[in-house]
């Protein structure tokens, strides 16, 4: 009896450790988009909302075609020519009770995209998991350093 109990305990501990310690399994993106090959283009050219609205947005195939149809020898891979919308999977999230505005941070505060999204410019493969863990202490450290509002209601909606 004791032997079974010990086995169950070990199994339980391993399962708990599996959930807590291991990172979430990466999601599969619909297109093997290489950011590194698009280094010459500013982030806000494709993620158009980042400079002007709350949501950065993810480009659809029509946006890709704007460049790819005009540059010789840069024809899009057939997978990228599908009708929009491309089923990108969002990997960087803020909790539902947080109001995050890209314009407030990118245009007004001049925050670099890398601060929250990591070195996307160097990536050849699309993201399967969030590159940077975004927590309230991360936000507050920057708000404190830069003299931005630390009023709870400024971010909690």
């Amino acid at each position: 009896m004791l032997r079974y109990f010990g086995a169950a305990l070990v199994t339980g501990l391993v399962a708990a450790a599996w959930i807590v310690v291991l990172p979430p399994s990466p999601v599969r993106q619909p297109i093997a988009f290489p950011h590194a090959k698009h280094q010459g283009v500013a982030c806000t050219v494709c993620h158009r909302g980042a400079a002007t609205t709350a949501h950065a947005g993810i480009p659809n195939a029509a946006m890709c075609a704007k460049c790819h149809s005009t540059i010789p020898g840069r024809a899009m891979a057939s997978t990228a020519q599908r009708e929009p919308p491309i089923a990108w999977v969002q990997v960087t999230h803020v909790p539902d009770h947080v109001m995050f505005s890209h314009r407030r941070h990118v245009t007004l505060a001049k925050l670099d995209c890398e601060s929250c999204h990591g070195k996307m410019r160097e990536r050849m493969a699309p993201l399967g998991v969030a590159p940077v863990r975004i927590e309230m202490k991360t936000c507050l450290a920057c708000h404190n350093r830069e003299g931005a509002s630390e009023d709870c209601a400024a971010c909690h909606r």
Partner: protein, 224 residues
């Protein structure tokens, strides 16, 4: 730093309840059934109540969080989920609220409401939810925020356009909707603002001001 306040002219108010509807729509405030309302669990951030203040008998008045300068609700909150922010708005941080309801009992105006059930909307209304305001879960207290999300958006817009925040940039939904133009919103500390002038008028009174809560919602009513 601004000190936001609201003036409601009861002589202009027709009790049409457009402000009530606008608030529900703007702030994703869920619906109540007759049963829950009868049980005293009406979910609303603003409602019309009988005004029985001296010289104001026989009429209804819109009552929402009075955004007191001395709010009794914040004193009793064990988790600091509700607090008076630097601009005079009594805010509520929902993920921090443990639903103890001390604040709902401490509030003499009874304008803080507890979510007894998970909020639900008809499917057709789901796309109309305001993305700038969260949906509060069951078990937390919620309240009027003077549409604080509108202040954040207005300030961001003004900064992006390289100018200062103008009085017309930030107006709560109830004020914007009021067809009788009975509501005026603005900075009480700005001596040139309309609210400051109205708040100092002889017609002004504050609801239950004898309690010392120093409300920033000011009512106007001609004495009889």
């Amino acid at each position: 730093m601004s000190r936001w306040g609201l003036v409601i002219d009861l002589d202009r108010c027709t009790a049409c309840q457009a402000c009530v509807v606008a608030c529900k729509h703007e702030n994703n405030v869920s619906f109540s059934t007759p049963t829950t309302t009868k049980a005293g669990r009406l979910m609303t951030w603003i409602q019309l109540v009988a005004a029985d203040a001296p010289g104001a008998t026989g009429t209804a008045m819109p009552l929402m969080c009075q955004h007191c300068d001395r709010p009794p609700c914040t004193d009793v909150c064990p988790t600091s989920a509700t607090y008076l922010n630097p601009e005079g708005i009594v805010a509520q941080v929902y993920p921090r609220c443990i639903g103890c309801r001390y604040c709902t009992n401490a509030c003499p105006y009874a304008v803080k409401v507890f979510n007894w059930t998970t909020p639900e909307w008809p499917d057709a209304m789901t796309p109309m939810m305001n993305p700038d305001v969260s949906v509060r879960p069951k078990g937390v207290v919620e309240k009027c925020t003077f549409c604080h999300h509108r202040l954040m958006a207005a300030r961001e817009r003004a900064r992006a356009e390289g100018r200062d925040l103008a009085p017309e940039d930030y107006v709560p939904a109830c004020v914007q909707t009021c067809p009788g133009e009975a509501m005026v919103f603005g900075d009480l500390d700005d001596p040139h603002s309309e609210v400051a002038a109205l708040a100092a008028s002889a017609r002004a009174f504050r609801w239950m001001e004898e309690l010392g809560t120093k409300p920033k919602v000011i009512y106007l009513r001609e004495g009889e």
